[in-house]
Symmetry: D2
Subunit: 224 residues, 4 copies
């Protein structure tokens, strides 16, 4: 909706350095009012894996800013480890972080968006969501689940003008944290967060006669 400040409203769940920051800046530059949700560091503090916290967060947003036009779900736990090193706790947390978060967010915002007559839900997927791999049993299983959820939501709610799109991020997003985790990574082999963010903005702006459910992005020089 148009916020009190006269701007459309975007909410980023799973805000952090890297893609989160870039999304905030990109949408703000396009004249959106942006609200961020995160366990720490967001404008609203909430654990998106907890339905109650998500409901509280969106109740606040609704009162303060109105109904979101765009919600971006960006939470994930990048578990890469041998299957026998993966505890059932870790397996579950990985799923909860990617999938339960989106379930909770969708439960909270889609009804508001339907009432509003429109809305966009953008979900961050990964190559692991279309192809399982060695050492990716937890992460791949979670990202597959997210893709199945996204497709189901699109097929259930698009006729009610709720656009759901799933971005398959096929590469590593550049950030100080990813650089630390993958020291061998060169910046020119990574995805620039600002470039990724511009994809999300273009999805948010798609006209209703040409909605995308799925698109992939990767650096030009990636072997895939």
């Amino acid at each position: 909706m148009t916020t009190s400040a006269g701007k459309p409203l975007a909410v980023i769940a799973g805000y952090g350095e890297g893609l989160g920051e870039a999304l905030k800046k990109t949408f703000e530059n396009d004249d959106y009012h942006v609200v961020t949700i995160s366990r720490s560091g967001g404008m609203i503090l909430a654990d998106t894996t907890d339905a109650n916290e998500v409901n509280r967060a969106f109740a606040q947003i609704s009162v303060l800013h109105g109904t979101p036009d765009v919600v971006i779900c960006n939470t994930a736990m990048l578990t890469i480890e041998r299957f026998f090193s993966t505890t059932s706790v870790r397996f579950e947390e990985t799923w909860r972080s990617s999938v339960m978060s989106v379930f909770n967010v969708a439960q909270a915002v889609i009804p508001m968006m339907i009432k509003q007559g429109s809305g966009t839900l953008l979900v961050t997927g990964a190559t692991a969501g279309i192809r399982g791999s060695k050492n990716f049993s937890a992460f791949s299983s979670a990202k597959f689940a997210l893709r199945g959820l996204s497709q189901s939501l699109a097929r259930e709610f698009q006729p009610q003008r709720i656009h759901v799109a799933h971005v398959i991020v096929d590469g590593i997003l550049w950030s100080p944290r990813s650089h630390e985790r993958f020291p061998a990574l060169q910046r020119e082999n990574a995805i620039e967060p600002n470039d990724a963010a511009s994809i999300y903005l273009s999805l948010a702006k798609q006209p209703a006669s040409a909605w995308t459910l799925e698109m992939d992005i990767r650096p030009y020089n990636e072997a895939f």
Copy 2:
């Protein structure tokens, strides 16, 4: 392994009427020793969503019968309902039933199978696992997750001679229960459990130079 009775050992987790019974009969007819696990009605009672119960069950099986040659994971909760009718509890249970069960079973049996030098893990998927749909957000998300897990396990363990295969059951398996749930279903439009079971048997017998990761089955007259 060869059981004390001189037969290869097959374990069916998620045993019940319909496919479970048919698998038991089919493998026994092919001279397997078959052990079934179920919350009720199996030869071993265990809730496969609980890692401790799964570990206990396979410890018993190991002592009594040895290391399984084939394990079939057949657990699922067929949730078909509007997204807004799906509680987070139900969403999670649906995932837990399909995915956490296979995680637990794989954690328990793959190490034994590696030690034995071979083993087969067969997993029951669904069309919902390759395509999300309206009213299938929970089930589709769970079956996608199961597919991602199966692919990851195959890629991690096949070089150690553990065959993982994912059967995409694209149709309704005939059983008194499915007949009750879908009263309009004609038997000739359903999958005969014995026919499905023969597919699992053929997967269990594939030679190591020609292993299948994924195959679909459906009735000849199904629109798909």
Copy 3:
């Protein structure tokens, strides 16, 4: 490249009413110089299924305007008929129209683009290219082939900064001709050519750290 008029150059192969016209207008509005190729009605007349004609066309373009920055392949023959009504001539023409055209265009322009140091090749796919259907044996087979070709070109040439993208058009593009062919089609259930064209423009403008290989588009109210 920058044309003599100081503008980047876009070439549309398979120009016609509907998407072709919309692409021309959309890219021109974004300050591209646009050249169209078609058997009739294009600025350059050529049958793209014929390698010689394609080579001649791009030789002309090269001399008159320089190396293209963006080439859009938009040729297709929408064959929808029972398999037994499909002659081998028709089957082949359908393939030739979609696939041989792109092969010919890619052979002609990718070397120029590599020399230039960059270039974008955008290809119009269809849902039939990811899923075969009754009465679509010729069209689906051709569109699958086109997808395989697009993926192969992307994997071969992206490291040389040639971006290849395949747009899965899942719906009917609105045009007087499509309206005539599918009289029951309502405009609000069709894809607006201008909306589709804006997708192609956004692909042409993707930064090299976030290139898309595949994206789908469909109207919000389409059952899919």
Copy 4:
């Protein structure tokens, strides 16, 4: 049908050493009468890319042996070369060999099979048919096309009891010729033709309540 010799009839189109021979032996061992078609070395000499020769071949088969119960299409031209080394002639031949052959065979045999009330058409696909790659533009495009054709035929004819299945051969079939072409290939990393052939036999024997459209096969030790 039951041949004059009282046996079901299988026809192998694209017969040769390796898989062709193994299929012949495997089906004969299972008490099929087997007829082979090939440009050279088959029991019936015909170029399957030519509709007239295919029609003549099946007319002969029909007169001499009756209507086939199973037809296996096994023709291919394994083109692996840089895109710029691929001539349009070679690109077309690669397509013609894999796709036009199956089109011609399907046109000839499906009507007979429908009249007979049943029949099975088994088609040899490849990983290249589900994923394009560098140096595979011709082969991948052809194998994608074959997959789209197979899916379309399945969806059009399965309700008439014609089973169509597409085997994704993900690996190199062992043969003197493949050994010569890929000298580094170890036999234990290749697919044994007899093992692959047993997959085709199991597809031919699937009961009508559980038909497979697609399955993959690969050696246990393949990285995929």
